[in-house]
């Protein structure tokens, strides 16, 4: 079981900055994110897009912002549960919360902060009516262990980085790889597109363009797929696995069943005080919350997280007196033993 002071759901920019602000107040954080790496939308949706409205940065790429935030909060040694979705929230008798993920990891903390952006990223599933029947029986949206595809016949659908990358990786493992895309243009990195072209020319992978998967067949496990090609000619391909890799889209998901007040697909919070939700001890910051005048901007999330930490401190340390401190005055003392402070002024006499 993971125990911490503040449990943060969502490791996007606002979740990461919460670790820093909480750290200044000597509270330890642990983050849960459904994505396998921190950064949230900045990593998943637009890592290479420049952001122009982060104060102090005239321009910064989204994935650079993520690395800077990770660097800034590193000294406060946050814990991470990545690749898992927070599934349930329960309050114990002592007032603390238990959050369990879809993989059964149990987390316990007196304060929960939801910094979940637009929700947890879920795979975009193609419109094939029968697809659910074959989920985990030949149809996978995520690849955790590529070894399960060893010497198997695999079809991959999609035209982005993930479809291209897995085509390249699986060409070494699977007995047969077919990449299917509705266009003949791919939106992945140029080097990946060229590599797939190379593999295709060497007959190591098959590429079906202007084609899409329209049906799946099999008894208990997927056995073959039907693709629709130009001029509506159909082709049946015998496969063991079908991997639709159409990227991920955020959905509010299980959070919406936690008894939180939801408005406009976001969690209602008290913005006049502490960004607390209707459940005492549960806060929501960043894009996931809503209140009159809400702006879904990273910089507004940073402010919300800072204010919220002051109130989280009061819950965690009800007896302690406390006054806001400035990092320019007190420096930053990390949990890892590191210490940063303003250098002393140099005093020199004028003779």
């Amino acid at each position: 079981m993971v125990k911490t002071d503040i449990l943060i759901i969502g490791a996007g920019p606002v979740g990461l900055f919460t670790v820093f602000e909480a750290g200044l107040l000597k509270m330890k954080c642990h983050l849960i994110d459904v994505l396998p790496k921190p950064g949230g939308q900045c990593s998943e949706l637009y890592p290479k897009k420049p952001i122009y409205d982060i104060p102090g940065y005239p321009e910064i790429l989204a994935d650079e912002l993520t690395s800077k935030l990770l660097e800034q909060c590193k000294q406060f040694e946050p814990g991470f549960t990545l690749g898992e979705r927070a599934e349930s929230l329960n309050r114990a008798e002592d007032g603390s919360f238990t959050v369990v993920t879809n993989k059964g990891t149990v987390h316990k903390a007196p304060v929960v902060v939801i910094a979940g952006g637009l929700g947890s990223f879920e795979p975009r599933k193609p419109n094939i009516p029968i697809i659910e029947k074959f989920e985990n029986k030949g149809v996978n949206y995520f690849i955790q262990d590529p070894e399960i595809f060893r010497d198997k016949k695999v079809a991959i659908a999609g035209g982005g980085d993930s479809a291209l990358d897995w085509t390249i990786i699986l060409s070494e493992i699977a007995s047969e790889v077919t990449l299917i895309h509705r266009s003949n243009e791919f939106r992945g990195a140029l080097s990946s597109v060229e590599k797939v072209q190379e593999l295709k020319d060497a007959n190591r992978v098959k590429v079906k363009t202007s084609a899409q998967v329209v049906d799946l067949m099999g008894e208990n496990h997927l056995e073959s797929i039907l693709i629709d090609q130009p001029n509506h000619t159909k082709e049946k391909i015998v496969v063991d696995y079908f991997l639709p890799l159409f990227g991920l889209l955020p959905k509010l998901g299980p959070i919406s069943n936690w008894g939180l007040k939801i408005e406009k697909n976001a969690i209602k919070v008290n913005n006049s005080l502490d960004y607390q939700t209707n459940i005492q001890g549960v806060f929501a910051v960043g894009d996931v919350n809503t209140y009159p005048g809400k702006l879904k901007l990273i910089l507004c999330g940073f402010h919300e997280a800072t204010v919220m930490c002051q109130y989280a401190f009061k819950i965690i340390n009800p007896e302690k007196k406390f006054l806001l401190k400035y990092t320019t005055v007190t420096g930053v003392n990390g949990f890892d033993g590191s210490s940063k402070s303003t250098p002393n002024s140099i005093v020199k006499k004028i003779q």
């Binding site: 939308q41 949706l45 637009y46 897009k49 637009l118 929700g119 975009r124 599933k125 193609p126 419109n127 999609g158 035209g159 982005g160 895309h181 509705r182 266009s183 243009e185 791919f186 939106r187 159409f246 990227g247 889209l249 955020p250 509010l252 406009k264 697909n265 976001a266 809503t290």
Partner: protein
């Protein structure tokens, strides 16, 4: 009608039609117009913020207005979108201008 607005007819996902006034002087795109009139639930249109990185703002153009041809990014996103038709466009890539007056469109189903 204020000459800085155009009339646009939008059919939402539930099939309801709306005749709305869209400003031409606020550098808004159609996705933002749909959101500013709250024609769909917040968080279900324009998820990526208008970067052609998702297809949540996909719409079908129902009138014969001549629109700027889709950029490479838009084309590639549409090539991965679901519920696609000949008339599919990403509404975030269509900027409100005078020649859109009378435009008719339908918001594509949510994925």
């Amino acid at each position: 009608m204020d000459n800085r607005t155009v009339k646009i007819y939008i059919t939402d996902r539930s099939g309801l039609s709306h005749a709305i006034e869209a400003p031409t002087d606020m550098s808004m795109n159609l996705m933002e117009v749909i959101r500013s009139y709250e024609l769909e639930d917040e968080g279900t249109v324009g998820i990526c913020g208008g970067m052609s990185m998702c297809a949540s703002c996909q719409c079908y153009i129902d009138s014969s207005h001549e629109l700027k041809i889709p950029s490479q990014d838009e084309k590639l996103m549409l090539s991965e979108a679901f519920n696609i038709r000949e008339s599919s466009r990403l509404s975030c890539q269509i900027f409100i201008s005078h020649h859109l007056d009378g435009l008719r469109l339908t918001i594509a189903p949510a994925e």
